[in-house]
Symmetry: C2
Subunit: 235 residues, 2 copies
């Protein structure tokens, strides 16, 4: 009896950006038997093509639902991703990079937590990575653990059950090459993902920003052909 | 020298809804010498008149800046405030009321945290109250303490300084009557605030929802004339 309950499919909320990482996370959640609800957040980022990719990926993967919340973080600014006056860097930085968007992952997790509460889901998946984004404070294990604690106090479900959400960050300690190998094994179509910080409206990548660089290196590490469509290659 | 630094005016972010509570909080923050940046969040709530009130209050109070972030939480739903299919209750509930918006205060604090980081502010004011809203999980001291801990891990400023934000919730243990008396003493113009969950587009209150009821009781407790404009009174 207990076993049946244990094995019943459970609902999960997946933060899906349309990039390589979250597409892999979605495939991993589904491989674990979760019924997935995808959530994208349009926060005023330069790379809106990513969001179109997210919708297509959710549909392709057979998610139970797809939602896109519009929320303009350009009013807050302070990042190359949300402030047109700040240029996207093309060289790696030892410091916290200017592409860091203040409080972004906290805002994203909060919205996902709200959706999980409404759906009655206890599991939440996020594609953060502490290897490639070591400079981002909200990509670290300590941050995620603290958010998990917060979720127990922040929601009706948490208060009533005495338990917080289970926050799954399966990519946390994986290299980009490992992520890609995992995704390929699970059938992820990386041609349908967009990682570039300044992709054009057709989803073609610039090939020079931090995110493009990490992605390119990842395909090399994985020993897999890079299916990315680049702006320069098509002109 | 140190004394000068200690006494220099500090910037603070104030979550300003346009309601009675946050208007009082703004006045209290200013009375403490903070230079205030007001932040309103339009989350798809029924009571948009509240937001117009927020802008006017921020201007009237001489805030350094006013921002309104649009973010449609109707896509998440699950609350009478964001789902038109759920009616706003007019009788008190012992349980967590249906006007509770899942994860709302976590989302609001996250956005305020992002703004504080960009502005270089370390102080954040929120008008939550554990007396009147005892049913809302995210109006409790334990929740706020946990968020303060999270802010130390979530932001660049927190990581670099080893310190989180100072989250001020000065109304936490005050009754509505006490809040109103405090606000009157500080010169708050309550006629300019809107509390009603379903105010009309001119900011006139229904007089029967939970929020109207608490507000009415507050003016009675405070022994102050209620300046609220009611829909019924003007027809």
């Amino acid at each position: 009896m207990n076993q049946d309950i244990e094995h019943a499919p459970r609902d999960a909320v997946i933060l899906l950006s349309g990039g390589l990482d979250s597409a892999t996370v979605l495939a991993m959640a589904q491989a674990q038997g979760f019924r997935c609800h995808a959530l994208s957040i349009s926060y005023g980022q330069r790379h809106v093509a990513e969001l179109e990719a997210a919708r297509a990926l959710a549909e392709q993967a057979g998610c139970l639902s797809y939602r896109r919340i519009e929320m303009d973080m350009r009013l807050i600014g302070g990042s190359a991703l949300t402030d047109p006056a700040i240029e996207v860097p093309t060289t790696p930085s030892d410091d916290i990079p200017i592409t860091y968007v203040p409080a972004r992952n906290t805002v994203f997790l909060s919205l996902a937590m709200g959706l999980a509460e409404v759906l009655g889901a206890q599991d939440l998946f996020i594609g953060v990575n502490a290897v490639d984004y070591s400079g981002y404070p909200d990509c670290r294990p300590a941050f995620l653990e603290q958010f998990q604690k917060l979720s127990q106090l922040a929601t009706k479900a948490g208060v009533e059950s005495g338990q917080g959400l289970r926050i799954h960050a399966p990519l946390l300690h994986m290299s980009k090459g490992e992520i890609i190998r995992q995704g390929i094994a699970l059938g992820v179509d990386y041609a349908a993902t967009v990682s570039c910080y300044q992709a054009d409206d057709q989803g073609r990548a610039c090939g020079v920003c931090d995110s493009c660089r990490l992605r390119q290196e990842g395909f090399v590490q994985a020993g897999v052909n890079d299916p990315t469509r680049y702006i320069s290659a098509s002109t």
